[in-house]
């Protein structure tokens, strides 16, 4: 039994400790977001956060995860109540087939958790590990910038309220 914190909930997983996290997420925990793309850490379709860092879940064995916190795209929101990145991806219509998109969102989430302010070059460098085959890159970049702007704006509001008081 391995205990992992998945999207804020502690879950017990009964699987071979050598099993890569990706298979545990998809099959044992029935979370669809992370996708199998290459199993080689070359494409990023399986990207999730472990303790806030973007990782390739296809490479990380369950044994390395005991007691650590994993966030998948399901942990960011729902269709009814999407998180800022999910909302921005919908608003920018930033998907074609969409197979890479959950990985893209999680990679971007790692950046936004660190900073809401970044240069275009920083953003592209940060997204470099993740592949998209449909050519949706322009919209993905726009969606990340839009989410960052929305988060900056949301954070500015309480400050202004504070000031008004």
């Amino acid at each position: 039994m391995t205990q992992i914190n998945i999207n804020g909930r502690t879950r017990e997983v009964d699987a071979d400790p050598a099993t890569p996290l990706l298979y545990v997420l998809r099959n044992d925990l029935e979370l669809n977001g992370a996708k199998f793309g290459c199993g080689l850490g070359q494409c990023g379709a399986c990207t999730v956060l472990v303790d806030g860092e973007a990782v390739f879940s296809c490479l990380l064995p369950l044994a390395a995860l005991d007691g650590r916190a994993v966030t998948t795209v399901e942990g960011l929101g729902t269709p009814e109540e999407p998180g800022p990145l999910q909302r921005a991806f919908v608003e920018e219509q930033a998907a074609q087939c969409g197979y890479c998109i959950a990985g893209m969102i999680m990679r971007a989430q790692a950046l936004l958790a660190r900073t809401r302010t970044f240069s275009e070059q920083d953003l592209r460098e940060h997204m470099q590990p993740n592949l998209c085959r449909c050519g949706t890159h322009m919209r993905i970049l726009r969606a990340v910038r839009r989410a960052a702007a929305a988060m900056r704006a949301a954070e500015a509001v309480p400050l202004r309220k504070e000031a008004a008081r």
Binding site: A15, D16, A18, T19, P20, Y23, R26, N27, E30, L31, N32, G33, K35, F36, G37, C38, G39, L40, Q42, C43, A45, T72, V73, E74, L76, G77, T78, P79, P82, L85, Q86, F89, V90, Q93, A95, Q96, C97, G98, Y99, C100, I101, A102, I105, R124, E125, M127, Q128, N130, L131, C132, R133, C134, G135, T136, H137, M138, R139, L141
Partner: protein
């Protein structure tokens, strides 16, 4: 009004379907007689293959509306566009319409979702069916409410008379009311009154895709489902000599090792157990390579040209002429792969002597025929249901995975079996876009205009889709293999290798020959735009070479040879939005390029203008910005069109700058993304702009493949502009550019 409104008698009779079909049959019989009226025009779009209205639209007694399409969502946004068309003509809000996509048990057979034909074929059928259903319901509502049809309005599935009385769609239909044959013409809503068509409606599939909903066949999780992996041969046609399944059968979770000739696979309870068992099984397998070795990649184009070919002259106009200004060029395009981000996947269940397969293939009905033959069931015992997959851009491993799943489900009846390919399997076994060579010679008059054009294209087939069972990898591998079908030419006007080989320009004397090469040293099939990618790259590169020889600006040169008003409008739009000015000089290391094509010469029109930067020391080409203009006819979802063109530009930039399948004499060597690099974020242009020219009331032209060829040629033209070096062999890798500019 030309719609078919069944009479009260037919409806009262209850067996409306039978009566109507008989009466139509009689009409047809009469039409063939000596006093026949002028023949009725053909039914529009896919109504030809499925003429009954209720094949496309069903309305339940509670008013629920279901629309059926034989096409599949491939990430191109077709679900949304079809719903828009149905919603507009029916007068029912989109969220209240359920759309069912390709499923052999429930939808019309529309063949493959390919060739940018979903809008021209399926959307046209649905639009006509919806308009005719609306007219039938209006006529019945008028009767029910005892008012003239003109006094009725439709509001979200309710027909309301001006006196306030109303009746819902559901109250007027038993299913038989819509079980009538479609008419060749429909009364459509005026495009100027559209409220849904032409609007950038948000895609219906995206919310699930960004929140981890079940969105793909890869996500299908059926009760009792087990997982399988296939061990593939190391080279094309290798036969399995021996294998030791015993050591694998005792591994944790392994349920069964399946061997049928050279088809070798393992089924396990958990997915990663299947992966580990596959690796172990592969260690014990010994293969014998096929006698035929692969050609030398360094000489592939010579090799292909020397193979026997079947030659067809597809254009022969005037007499090939000469002048004092004659120019020739030869172009090459390597094998390139679809490279889906998610390897092929399928789920199959074999129970009670019938087979159900969930697949992300592009053609559920053709796949059913192949699978029925593969497992030895009559087609009516096989059901294929489309679920989305990773973007395919043509014939990739999806159908093969369906074949794998079918064989494995038959080996383990009663349990749903999910199989997914590994990355190296997708990279080495998918059918590639074929390597091609083109040659062109043109003569110019004193004014620099083209007076003569001779063009040759050498190519393998561009479709080895199912097809019979022998078109599936599993069908070729089993102990009693199915014969591979002979490769076929896709005839003009669509064309395969010769798609877009006929120049769209006004040239008085022209000859075009398609050299079809049946022998396929590498597995090939349909990849986005088929031969159009290469033919447009060749023709549009050459147009720039001729413009330079003539001393005319490349945009102006194209306009000088273009008569069609819509073509001229697209070229002008792209040039204007790019701020293209004749004879303006680019900064050092920068260049600009232009190209145009009408896909298949009858579908969407697309022009691309790009700016590139070439790093002199390394030869690396960076796409700085791209501006595209597109005319897809009536634009149903302008943002969907933009998304497709943006994606087409970026994907084609990746093909053009980076991509080629590599192989040695034994096997494919471009096994993963490190060995087959594609465009990543740091190579993405600064800007991509798409300008849609809407043509309200004009036929839908489809969009998916329009940008591929123009983008490739525009980039090559921009590299020539930046460096002075004309590169006629794809891809434009930095090594190749560096060699061409001589640093």
């Amino acid at each position: 009004m030309t719609t078919l409104a069944p009479s009260r008698r037919q409806v009262v009779a209850g067996g409306g379907a039978l009566i109507v079909s008989i009466s139509l049959g009689a009409t047809r019989a009469l039409a063939q007689g000596p006093q026949a009226a002028p023949p009725t025009p053909p039914l529009p779009g896919s109504l030809k293959g499925a003429p009954m209205l209720d094949s496309w639209i069903r309305i339940d007694a509670d008013g629920a509306v279901t629309v059926f399409t034989g096409k599949a969502e491939l990430g191109q946004g077709i679900k949304t566009a079809l719903l828009q068309v149905a919603s507009e003509e029916l007068g029912v809000a989109m969220p209240r319409i359920k759309l069912v996509t390709a499923d052999t048990a429930t939808t019309p057979d529309e063949g493959y979702t390919s060739g940018s034909q979903s809008m021209p074929n399926s959307a046209t059928a649905i639009r006509n069916a919806a308009a005719q259903v609306r007219e039938i319901l209006l006529a019945r509502a008028a009767e029910r409410l005892s008012v003239n049809v003109e006094r009725l309005k439709i509001r979200d599935g309710i027909m309301i008379a001006d006196d306030g009385s109303s009746v819902g769609f559901g109250e007027l239909v038993g299913n038989e009311v819509l079980h009538v044959a479609a008419q060749p013409t429909s009364r459509f809503k005026e495009p100027s009154t559209y409220t849904v068509v032409g609007k950038p409606i948000a895609r219906v599939d995206i919310p699930a895709k960004v929140t981890g909903g079940v969105a793909y066949v890869h996500d299908l999780r059926l009760p009792g489902m087990v997982h399988a992996r296939v061990v593939r041969p190391p080279s094309y046609g290798a036969r399995l000599a021996e294998v030791d399944p015993g050591s694998v059968e005792t591994m944790p979770g392994v349920l069964k090792v399946v061997r049928d000739g050279s088809f070798l696979a393992v089924i396990a309870g958990r997915e990663y157990q299947a992966v580990q068992a596959m690796w172990a099984l592969a260690q014990t397998a010994r293969w014998i390579d096929a006698k035929q070795e692969l050609p030398d990649q360094a000489a592939i184009y010579d090799y292909l040209k020397k193979l026997p070919s079947r030659d067809t002259t597809i254009l022969d106009r005037g007499m090939i002429a000469s002048s004092s200004s004659v120019h020739s060029a030869t172009y090459h395009r390597p094998y390139q792969m679809h490279g889906a981000i998610g390897p092929a996947c399928a789920v199959a269940l074999y129970a009670d002597d019938s087979l159900t397969v969930w697949s992300h293939g592009q053609g559920m009905f053709p796949l059913r025929r192949a699978l029925a033959e593969l497992v030895g069931l009559p087609p009516d015992k096989v059901r294929c249901i489309h679920m989305e997959g990773s973007g395919c851009y043509g014939h990739n491993g999806a159908d093969d995975a369906g074949g794998d799943a079918a064989l494995l489900a038959r080996a383990l009846p009663g349990r749903p079996v999910r199989v997914q390919w590994m990355r190296e399997q997708e990279h080495t076994l998918e059918p590639y876009g074929p390597a091609m060579t083109t040659g062109v010679t043109a003569a110019l008059d004193r004014g620099g205009n083209i007076i003569s054009w001779q063009y040759d294209v050498w190519s393998n087939t561009h479709s080895t889709r199912p097809g019979p069972a022998g078109s599936l990898l599993a069908g070729l591998a089993v102990a009693s293999p199915f014969p591979a079908p002979p490769p076929a030419v896709i005839p003009q006007p669509e064309g395969g290798g010769d798609r877009n080989a006929i120049p769209i320009y006004a040239i008085p004397n022209a000859q075009v020959v398609h050299h079809f090469i049946p022998d396929m040293p590498l597995r090939v099939s349909a990849m986005r735009a088929l031969g159009a990618y290469m033919n447009v790259f060749s023709i549009e590169s050459f147009m720039d070479e001729l413009a330079k020889a003539a001393g005319v600006d490349p945009v102006e040169y194209r306009l000088n040879h273009l008569d069609d008003a819509r073509a001229r409008a697209v070229v002008r739009m792209a040039a204007e939005k790019f701020d293209w000015r004749a004879r303006s000089a680019s900064p050092r290391g920068r260049g600009r390029g232009f190209a145009f094509a009408r896909y298949k010469n009858f579908a969407a029109l697309c022009a691309a203008a790009v700016e590139v930067e070439v790093e002199h020391e390394t030869g690396a080409v960076r796409l700085v910005r791209a501006v595209a203009a597109v005319d897809s006819g009536q634009a149903v979802n302008p943002d969907g069109i933009k998304n497709q063109i943006e994606g087409g530009v970026i994907q084609a930039a990746s093909w053009t700058l980076f991509e080629q399948v590599t192989f040695d004499r034994r096997q494919i060597t471009s096994r993963d993304w490190s060995l087959y690099p594609i465009l990543r974020f740091q190579a993405v242009p600064e800007r991509v702009e798409v300008h849609v020219i809407d043509r309200p009331g004009q036929p839908f032209l489809g969009t998916g493949e329009a940008a591929a060829g123009p983008t490739a040629a525009a980039i090559a033209n921009a590299v020539a502009d930046a460096t002075g070096a004309r590169i006629r062999e794809l891809p434009l890798t930095r090594q190749r550019v560096k060699a061409a500019i001589g640093v």
